[in-house]
């Protein structure tokens, strides 16, 4: 993992969405959404159920293609057809269901679908274990052994494995959908610390969450969505009340 060395000075955004819209029949999931994410920045997307947060995440991750609007990565207009296209463009995502394999160990999960192979096409287990261990250490993840099967890890540790997996392709942007949902306080503490690490590594992070406490703890900027539209942009220091007002439409 080589963290970018270009500091935090204002430059063009890593990722920009311009006037992005997405309809499902009569349902307007996204209506003219604008979003910018810079490096060294955690941008939180908050909003009620059905506000369009996850749809937006799926557009960025290449799961959905927008009906209208433009996606730019590092200033260049791009079309993200598929999740693998998103990966190639430096966008990695962790969705709510994590999509980890319970029966495989930590290393196998981290390298799932992107295994390191030797010349004869053989898996290089040793190399992958070493890389996994280094990756987890880098994120300050406390998992005793990379050979532990996922089913015997806690929910917080699984989330950490899912986050570590996104880092394999050396992405610039990481999308995390509800990473602290259903975690204990100690596990939440770990995941929030990982998010701080991702930011320190110079990545742009899109954090989707319902928990304003968690969001305000680690975000640089909070973008409120309501009925598929932008409904306000707040600095992390903004009060709980003003953000709640924008979420509920009271303001």
């Amino acid at each position: 993992m080589t963290p970018p060395t270009d500091g935090t000075r204002r430059r063009s955004p890593l990722l920009a969405l311009r006037e992005v819209s997405k309809n499902f029949g009569a349902v307007e999931a996204l209506v003219g959404i604008d979003l910018e994410v810079y490096s060294h920045e955690v941008v939180a997307l908050v909003g009620d159920n059905g506000a369009g947060k996850s749809t937006l995440a799926k557009v960025v991750a290449g799961v959905l293609t927008p009906d209208a609007g433009q996606v730019e990565i590092e200033g260049r207009p791009v079309t993200i057809h598929s999740p693998s296209a998103a990966n190639a463009l430096g966008v990695a995502s962790v969705f709510q269901d994590l999509a980890v394999c319970e029966n495989l160990d930590v290393t196998a999960n981290v390298f799932l679908g992107q295994e390191i192979r030797g010349r004869a096409g053989m898996l290089r287990d040793g190399q992958m274990e070493v890389d996994t261990r280094r990756l987890l250490e880098h994120l300050t993840v406390r998992i005793p052994s990379v050979r532990t099967p996922l089913r015997s890890l806690s929910a917080g540790q699984r989330q950490a494995v899912a986050i570590a997996r996104t880092l394999i392709g050396e992405p610039r942007i990481v999308v995390l959908d509800e990473p602290t949902a259903a975690l204990s306080v100690a596990q939440t503490a770990e995941v929030l610390t990982h998010i701080e690490r991702l930011r320190e590594m110079g990545l742009g992070v899109i954090l989707i969450s319902h928990n304003l406490n968690d969001v305000r703890a680690v975000s640089d900027r909070i973008e409120v969505m309501r009925h598929g539209r932008n409904n306000g942009s707040f600095p992390a220091s903004a009060s709980h009340e003003s953000i709640l007002a924008a979420i509920t439409g009271a303001a």
Partner: protein
């Protein structure tokens, strides 16, 4: 790998002990995975460590199977240290020799609420106790540090407004109700002073001034070997000394307090136009990377803090000024202008005047202080002096 059989064994022992320390508690199977050693080697080393009273083994259940949980020895009991900061909550569990067994940091939102945060403190303490395989009954006490003066008579924040939402909260009572263990609360800078004077940069000194410059600014005074809190706990509140008579109104209600000039938000504001949103840790990192703008901000803050510290040091006559907190992590960029401000005062620049050094315990000074407070306040057991010396010698 070169080396004799015994040095290899020694290295493996250290590896096992390190792994146990990092995770709080591990089963023997997990230890084999964490260290890459064979199960037989781990088992032999654990036996060694138990015989040497470094580790303890107890039965536990992992994934439905019985297993042997290995933890560092804490037979006499445990204490918890908690430091509530403006943006982070730190909780640690230690044994009676101040050795930290498990630790957790939780990022907090700006202006976090006392009810939510104290709830999280309680849950984290319970989680850490479980992590080392102990139960709450083994916890002798809990030391809590707050970024505000604490009135020793009431146990509440002693200066209204400086920690929004925490005025008139009976912190110790709230936690004691949840955890049923004794809770001791103090100002964070006082805890830093306590830790630095017993374990850190002021071990052999009687009179010491500890200054913490992070999101907020505070000082702890050690007079004649003891932390001096003042009649109502506000001693050392240098964050609320006036440095700019035409300055902004502070959260405390006065104008131009030191904190309105060098507190976290005040430091970050002039950087916003050219850097975008930064955190204090970003500023520390960029300063270490020799970023000119951030160096400027940090150096100016050092000089401003130095002016106030010089006045306090003239009054107190300490042997040493110990500087902790985030900004001290930038080293001489911050310390040199601070020292220079002290040197300008003749009284302080005389031979034998106070020197200015970074905190030996670094960012952990307050947390170690919270642990020390809990240990100091607990007399449930006879603490042999040798334990004290051992802790101090580290």
């Amino acid at each position: 790998m070169a080396g004799s059989q015994s040095s290899l064994r020694e290295a493996n022992r250290a590896r096992v002990a390190d792994a146990v320390k990092r995770h709080g508690g591990l089963t023997q199977v997990e230890l084999a995975g964490a260290t890459g050693l064979s199960a037989a080697t781990v088992s032999a080393i654990v036996k060694d460590l138990v015989a040497a009273e470094i580790a303890e083994v107890r039965s536990t259940v992992r994934s439905g199977r019985r297993a042997q949980l290995v933890t560092l020895a804490h037979r006499v009991g445990l204490v918890a240290g908690v430091v509530v900061g403006y943006r982070h909550l730190r909780v640690a569990l230690a044994d009676v020799s101040h050795e930290v067994l498990a630790e957790q940091i939780l990022p907090l939102p700006a202006d976090h609420r006392s009810d939510t945060s104290l709830d999280r403190v309680a849950l984290l303490v319970v989680d850490l106790v479980e992590r080392v395989g102990a139960d709450l009954g083994e916890l002798l006490g809990i030391g809590v540090g707050l970024p505000a003066p604490v009135n020793p008579a009431t146990g509440m924040v002693g200066l209204r407004g400086v920690l929004r939402g925490w005025d008139s909260v009976q912190i110790a009572q709230v936690l004691e109700k949840r955890l049923a263990r004794p809770v001791f609360v103090d100002n964070d800078a006082n805890l830093g002073a306590l830790a630095e004077s017993t374990l850190g940069a002021g071990r052999e000194l009687r009179d010491l001034l500890y200054v913490n410059v992070s999101q907020g600014v505070g000082a702890g005074l050690v007079v004649n070997g003891r932390v001096h809190r003042g009649a109502d706990g506000t001693a050392g509140e240098i964050g609320h000394v006036q440095v700019d008579p035409a300055g902004r109104i502070c959260a405390c209600g006065s104008r131009g307090c030191l904190e309105t000039v060098v507190g976290g938000p005040a430091l970050l504001e002039p950087l916003y136009a050219s850097y975008g949103h930064l955190t204090l840790r970003d500023v520390v990192r960029l300063t270490k990377d020799d970023d000119p703008g951030c160096r400027e901000i940090v150096a100016d803050a050092g000089a401003t803090v130095g002016g106030v510290v010089a006045a306090l040091a003239t009054g107190l006559g300490p042997q040493r000024v110990v500087v902790g907190g985030d900004l001290a992590e930038t080293g001489e960029v911050f310390l040199a202008p601070l020292r220079e401000a002290l040197r300008r005062r003749t009284v302080l620049s005389r031979p034998g005047g106070p020197d200015v050094v970074p905190a030996a315990l670094g960012l952990r000074a307050e947390l170690q202080g919270a642990i020390a407070l809990a240990l100091e306040s607990t007399d449930l057991f006879e603490r042999p002096d040798s334990t004290d010396d051992e802790g101090a010698g580290r």
